[in-house]
Subunit: 260 residues, 2 copies
């Protein structure tokens, strides 16, 4: 590590007003110079969305007494990361931490997660990046018990970095003292019973998202769902590159073609 | 293949009004019973976004003379897929085709792509799913030269399916007759110069997204960017599972812990 303080970019998807991002700042603020760049509004389920064709604005809030600087962007978590790099931080951040999310991002929820959208963006920009999520949806969730684990994992990343092209998806059980930490993979599954149907006053149907995750491998002891159910913090190494290289050869025979 | 016609779900991210989705329907409509379920509005760059806490409505358009059924949803591409499965198609679709997108989804653009968000959703639901994109942003793009390739790839998928857990990201050069088809991986890279800065009438800055993709491996002959630059159709096998299993062991030593 250079002999200057690292720059740490902090963001989330629950907005600047969510308690989770302030719990994250408290846990990591002595590890570097903190720039918080967060959405003005709630962006749960926004994945890696970017704002196209619509103006983005940056508003700086008053600097906190502890030196943490706060910026608000009227966009998505990925917009926050991109715009932070483009126009806010004085140089490329050394680390990016996202969260603490109010709610789980285990299993395949990472696909929809704005918290992890920001993390994947940081990773693609070459920044060691970690997303933290607490398994409790409420804005009144208590981050006291999770804070030491956020702190410990962030500190290890600041000390040793992360392998190139890898970011971390950290999920933390709520309302218990976690019994340990396990590096693992995301449990495979899908969502079911995803909508509740309503009728509006004119008798026309509309739908609201709900549903539950079906873990198709509940006994797999190398998965996040397995360890979260056993009161452990799960740490999943994640790659933004979704190419399935092992499938290229088998599929080449079927699809490769040359004309003429 | 069963002796009944397959159900094919067709969606996109450019909305029901985009010529690309109608080019896709024309190319595949004799391969099965077609249900088009598409966003009411443009959703480029929406990735795997889902609509949370806001009502979704389904509107069926008049059935076309060729028997194709059209539905519009006031949501994202992933909303369209989820709601199609929940409330529109009579049984789980046998195949999902998304596109034809007006613009490239090669390189790391898949991360932001609504076209591919729908495809990843289909894949996680166990449906063989393919996204098609034409390397031309205009709504006036000409799909004539790409149509035979869309048709040929779709037909091969209908005949033989896809490996479990794998979907395809197909990109097609514009304004040329493609010289062939190559199965490959996504070129690694990142976006740069991503915003243009403006001043509003009150003198306050705002930003609009722009930028260009920097391919960090332009000579890698197993990548989509390489083959697209050489007038080939690229077919990238994609997995929704972003866990990097090879990183679990090296990171376990550093992060695993048990309390007490």
């Amino acid at each position: 590590m250079e002999n200057i303080r690292p720059i740490i970019l902090v963001t989330n998807d629950d907005s600047i007003e969510a308690p989770g991002i302030h719990a994250l700042v408290e846990a990591v603020k002595d590890l570097g110079d903190i720039y918080v760049v967060a959405p003005a509004q709630q962006h749960s389920g926004q994945s890696s969305s970017i704002t196209v064709d619509s103006p983005l604005r940056i508003k700086e809030l008053p600097e906190a007494p502890d030196g943490v600087r706060y910026f608000v962007v009227n966009g998505t978590p990925v917009d926050c990361v991109k715009l932070a790099l483009h126009a806010i931080v004085p140089r490329k951040p050394d680390f990016l931490f996202s969260g603490v999310n109010h709610g789980s991002n285990s299993g395949n929820s990472i696909t929809y997660s704005g918290t992890m959208g920001a993390v994947l963006e940081g990773c693609m920009q070459g920044i060691p990046s970690v997303g933290f999520s607490l398994l409790h949806h409420s804005l009144k969730a208590d981050f006291t018990l999770s804070a030491p684990f956020v702190r410990s994992i962030a500190q290890k990343v600041v000390e040793k970095g992360l392998p190139a092209g890898i970011c971390l998806n950290v999920n933390i059980p709520a309302k218990v003292v976690p019994e340990g930490v396990r590096v693992c993979r995301a449990a495979k599954g899908y969502w079911t019973e995803e909508y509740r149907r309503y009728l509006d006053p004119a008798g026309r149907p509309f739908y609201l998202l709900t549903g539950r995750f079906v873990n198709i491998e509940p006994d797999a002891d190398d998965t996040d769902e397995y360890w979260l159910a056993r009161r452990h913090v799960s740490v999943v190494p994640v790659t933004p590159d979704q190419s399935c290289v092992s499938a290229i050869k088998p599929l080449s025979d079927r699809f490769n073609a040359s004309e003429g």
